[in-house]
């Protein structure tokens, strides 16, 4: 295994994060902090508790998950799209690195960035609203699993995209709405029965529910179902990446 190659890609991507701290860290942290201030502190103080959890604390897992999903996709898609756009991908293709090693470098870096961001946001949220984490190991497990899964999805998008517009379409037009409608700000138990059923087709519901359970021990769906759905999504993304590497789709002619 070309460990130096994996390390080179990983450090290169992490260096990009350091160069763009405002965009990579400060911007999502600021926007999420604003959500906490507005929905958590200002509006939240006038709302009733949900499942025994104050509204400000209730939205913390959903907010972190929202940022985690969008940033994982954004980091990974940008990471692989930029070399394709600038033409520097030639160097990756001509190097003695396998596809698995390329994936470990790019997805590993994207997931690391997202996890760091999640940790920073958790600390930021703690400054705005009081909350507890009942199952910290599960919380970390969900954080890592989600970051890796959505970084894989971002990697696929970065290869599929043939322009900056396409690069933005999936995060903006699909992931963000699914996250908002996936219970970031509410429990799906609060919806009418029909919409509760519809919500169960939203994969993000399971991510947020599982993540919220690790905080407060309350969930919209059971933990095994949340874990199973997240793992299924991970497997689907891995299958997509495998197909891309096997066929050389948009990578090699």
């Amino acid at each position: 295994m070309n460990l130096y190659g994996i390390r080179a890609i990983y450090l290169f991507e992490m260096a990009r994060m350091r160069r763009t701290l405002m965009q990579s860290v400060a911007s999502p942290v600021l926007s999420t902090a604003l959500y906490f201030v507005v929905f958590g502190s200002a509006i939240g103080s006038h709302m009733v508790d949900i499942d025994g959890v104050s509204y400000g604390a209730f939205i913390v897992p959903g907010m972190i998950m929202l940022a985690l999903l969008t940033q994982s996709i954004s980091n990974a898609s940008f990471g692989i799209y930029m070399p394709r756009f600038t033409g520097t991908i030639y160097e990756i293709h001509s190097a003695p690195v396998s596809y698995i090693e390329i994936l470990l470098g790019y997805v590993g870096a994207a997931a690391t960035k997202s996890i760091l961001l999640g940790a920073i946001m958790l600390a930021t949220a703690r400054l705005c609203v009081p909350f507890q984490i009942e199952h910290p190991l599960w919380m970390v497990a969900f954080l890592v699993l989600t970051a890796v899964t959505f970084s894989l999805l971002g990697f696929i998008i970065g290869i599929w995209a043939d322009g900056f517009e396409k690069l933005q379409i999936v995060p903006l037009m699909i992931v963000t709405p699914l996250t908002f409608l996936g219970g970031s700000f509410y429990s799906i138990d609060m919806l009418p029965p029909f919409w509760q059923t519809v919500s169960l087709f939203n994969p993000v519901v399971y991510l947020i529910s599982g993540f919220r359970w690790s905080f407060y021990g309350v969930a919209d769906v059971s933990l095994p179902v949340s874990l199973g759905m997240t793992a299924l999504f991970l497997v689907l993304c891995l299958a997509g990446v495998r197909w891309i590497f096997r066929t050389g789709y948009r990578l090699k002619t």
């Binding site: 070309n2 130096y4 190659g5 390390r7 080179a8 890609i9 450090l11 290169f12 260096a15 990009r16 160069r19 600038t86 033409g87 520097t88 030639y90 160097e91 990756i92 293709h93 001509s94 190097a95 003695p96 690195v97 396998s98 050389g248 090699k252 002619t253």
Partner: protein, 307 residues
Amino acid sequence: MQPAIAIHGLSKTYASGLTALRNVNLEIRRGEIFALLGPNGAGKTTLISIVCGIVNPSAGRVLADGHDIVADYRAARARIGLVPQELSTDAFESVWSTVTFSRGLFGKPANPAYIEKVLRDLSLWDKKDSRIMALSGGMKRRVMIAKALSHEPQILFLDEPTAGVDVELRRGMWDMVRRLRESGVTIILTTHYIEEAQEMADRIGVIRQGEIILVEEKDTLMAKLGKRQLTLTLGEPLARIPQALQDYRLELSADGSQLVYTYDNQEHGGDIARLLQRLGEAGIEFKDLSSSESSLEEIFVSLVHPS
């Protein structure tokens, strides 16, 4: 001795249906400078891209230093450095970090002393902390070369290395290529500047419409296909070439003041003395004479455009 690169029956047809290479067979000797010449679209870049792992072959086999580029791609690629035609760089990276990145990518442990040597050799040391976007085109080209050399390759592909580079820098690059060859690196270059191939190459390959139509030692090629011309400036203009000289390949200039005699390099000019004697016998005096040799460029044009 095992060749540096051995290409057997290599073909490439793109998904669009375009056939870029047709049954190419070629061996590059270890330690030589091989110039691959061909018009635009002839298949030069496709050939290089396949050897370097950027494009998949449709058929055929390539060995780099005895290692199959598909089955044993790690060993093959570790031996190859590539300077692509396009100036593809990470604009926001510093020179040092991008060259260090390349070395790691090719599986080599960090070696700051070697990277420093490469940058100094390419006159880039002063710019090591500069962002690539701040460099001139010529410097970016040198950064590309530094990246290709960062993992100490034994085989170096230079795809149009001096395109858009000024004369001084071009000559500097030629010197660098010669130094690399002296250190044992095999160099394969494609170029539009035939002068470049004439100046540096040991052997020349010509590719046309995806087929290698000629591989020859440069000097042999020049001797075999080159032409020489002897131009005589006459004392008095002639109206036409005299009958006594009709068996020579002579041309008379429009104003009748110059006679041009064209002969093959292989004829060694053996007939010139007799021609001059015949001119004297015909009473034709000349006041000046000069000779010239056809360039590789003219040979190249005659090969790729036979008509």
